[in-house]
């Protein structure tokens, strides 16, 4: 039984991984945009963005997944989004909001003097951001980002509320067949994934160790 179970769990793992990487792909840049919005000097925009971040971070991700999947149909009578797409939208938006706060913390912790030093050397705002600030921000945010990414690995299991066949869903199907251990076995897959992530993030931190 072990090998067929492993194979079918791996099938679930593929969906989990797809969701994980696509969420990062969209949420990492979107989070940066949101963080700029939440630091905007234009007050209405700042309030709007901060309110959205509050709502998204303040309500359960599971409810957000359900709203994005069922909401358009229930409220506007629109056709449903494909299940995976709905899940991805919910995850990307949710994680972008968390990331935006990490970015904001990172950006605001770069001393004002760094911007000023760039300015007096005649650099443009864009040059200052990309050539001076960005790497210092990245160095500061790797540890909290790592935390969020590891949370994301496990949060992917929430999408089974709209029947996306991810890892835990695959494990659960065996319960109907009278097997309980495949469900617990799924934890090993999550552990391996977060183990790999931890190693990668540590290497990232080490790479940035050359400056303080």
């Amino acid at each position: 039984m072990f090998i067929p179970v492993t194979l079918s769990l791996l099938e679930g793992m593929v969906t989990t991984l797809k969701l994980f990487f696509l969420t990062l792909l969209f949420a990492l840049p979107l989070g940066l945009v949101i963080s700029f919005g939440s630091m905007s000097r234009f007050t209405p925009l700042r309030w709007l963005v901060q309110t959205v971040v509050w709502i998204i971070r303040g309500s359960p991700l599971m409810i957000q997944i359900l709203i994005i999947f069922y909401g358009p149909g229930l409220i506007f009578g629109l056709p449903l989004l494909p299940r995976f797409t709905a899940a991805l939208v919910a995850f990307a938006v949710n994680y972008a909001c968390y990331f935006s706060e990490i970015y904001r913390g990172g950006i605001q912790s770069v001393p004002q003097g760094q911007y000023e030093a760039g300015q007096v050397l005649g650099m443009t705002k864009t040059q200052i951001f990309f050539k001076i600030t960005l790497l210092q921000v990245v160095k500061r945010i790797v540890p909290p980002m790592g935390n969020e990414m590891i949370t994301l690995v496990k949060d992917t299991s929430l999408v089974r509320v709209i029947s996306v066949y991810e890892l835990i869903w695959m494990g659960e199907t065996y319960i109907k067949k009278g097997l309980i251990w495949p469900l617990f076995y799924t934890a090993v897959f999550y552990l391996i994934l977060s183990g790999i992530l931890t190693i990668l993030l540590n290497q990232c931190e080490k790479k940035l160790d050359y400056f303080k």
């Binding site: 760094q114 000023e116 007096v120 050397l121 005649g122 650099m123 443009t124 050539k131 001076i132 303080k212």
Partner: protein, 255 residues
């Protein structure tokens, strides 16, 4: 013709007037020292010259042409301000070196970015010029060190090289030794002194009275946002005319 003419500069933060009718001029090759207690507006004045703050009133002219006029918005366009900043170099109290770049990269970064945009110098020329500047600062062997591997005095000397790399008309120092341990101030002051000997036009905000007296050609004493007294440094420090200058110098002598 003076290289720098500052006329009637005003700056307020909200209702607080930080600079009030500041006027002075500076000749090419001369060093001007500005002294005064904390909060007297010295640093704000330097920041206005470097356009890190916008004056609320007054004009700034470099080499005879007005580069900033508070009454004329056409002199305040952001894009032009960026270029106008290059008339001035600024050395900060706490260095503000870029931590992710080596000493040499700190010196060459801005010039490389400019060359990339506007053409002109080759990378090799910029590197050589950067190395020469570090050598002038006595840091040839530290070119590939990162800021955190350098002492405060070395960091400040890299910062001076960085400011010089863009050939500013006027180099400004904002209390360049205030963040340094006493035993490290000497090496930075020596560098500034040698710049003065080589006729670098400089404005030095400092608390080092003896240094200001020796090195500067002109001295300004500021208090509460106004210039109280200005003139020959030895004259002002040894024979102050104003009561406020006397009090300030007496407090200094006590410490």
């Amino acid at each position: 013709m003076s290289i720098l003419e500052v006329n009637h500069i005003e700056k307020h933060f909200g209702p607080t007037k930080v600079l009030n009718d500041i006027s002075f001029s500076l000749e090419a090759g001369q060093a001007l020292s500005i002294i005064g207690s904390s909060g007297s507006g010295k640093t704000t004045l330097l920041r206005c010259l470097n356009f890190l703050e916008r004056p609320n009133g007054g004009t700034i002219a470099v080499n005879g042409s007005v580069i900033f006029d508070a009454a004329d918005p056409s002199t305040q366009i952001e894009k032009d301000i960026r270029e106008k900043r290059l008339h001035f170099g600024l050395v900060f109290q706490n260095f503000n070196l870029f931590p992710q770049y080596t000493a040499l990269q700190n010196v060459t970064l801005a010039r490389e970015l400019r060359a990339k945009k506007k053409g002109g110098e080759s990378r090799e020329e910029i590197l050589q010029a950067g190395l020469a500047l570090l050598e002038q600062m006595g840091l040839a062997d530290r070119a590939n060190h990162y800021p955190h591997q350098l002492s405060g005095g070395q960091q400040q000397r890299v910062a001076i090289a960085r400011a010089l790399a863009l050939h500013p008309d006027i180099l400004c120092f904002d209390e360049p030794t205030s963040a340094l341990d006493p035993e490290l101030t000497g090496e930075v002051l020596r560098v500034i002194r040698s710049l003065a000997e080589h006729k670098t036009t400089m404005i030095i905000v400092t608390h080092e009275m003896a240094f200001a007296r020796d090195v500067a050609d002109q001295l300004i004493f500021m208090d509460s946002g106004v210039i109280v007294e200005q003139g020959d440094p030895k004259e002002v420090i040894d024979h102050p005319k104003e009561e406020r200058t006397r009090q300030f110098l007496a407090r200094y002598a006590d410490n």
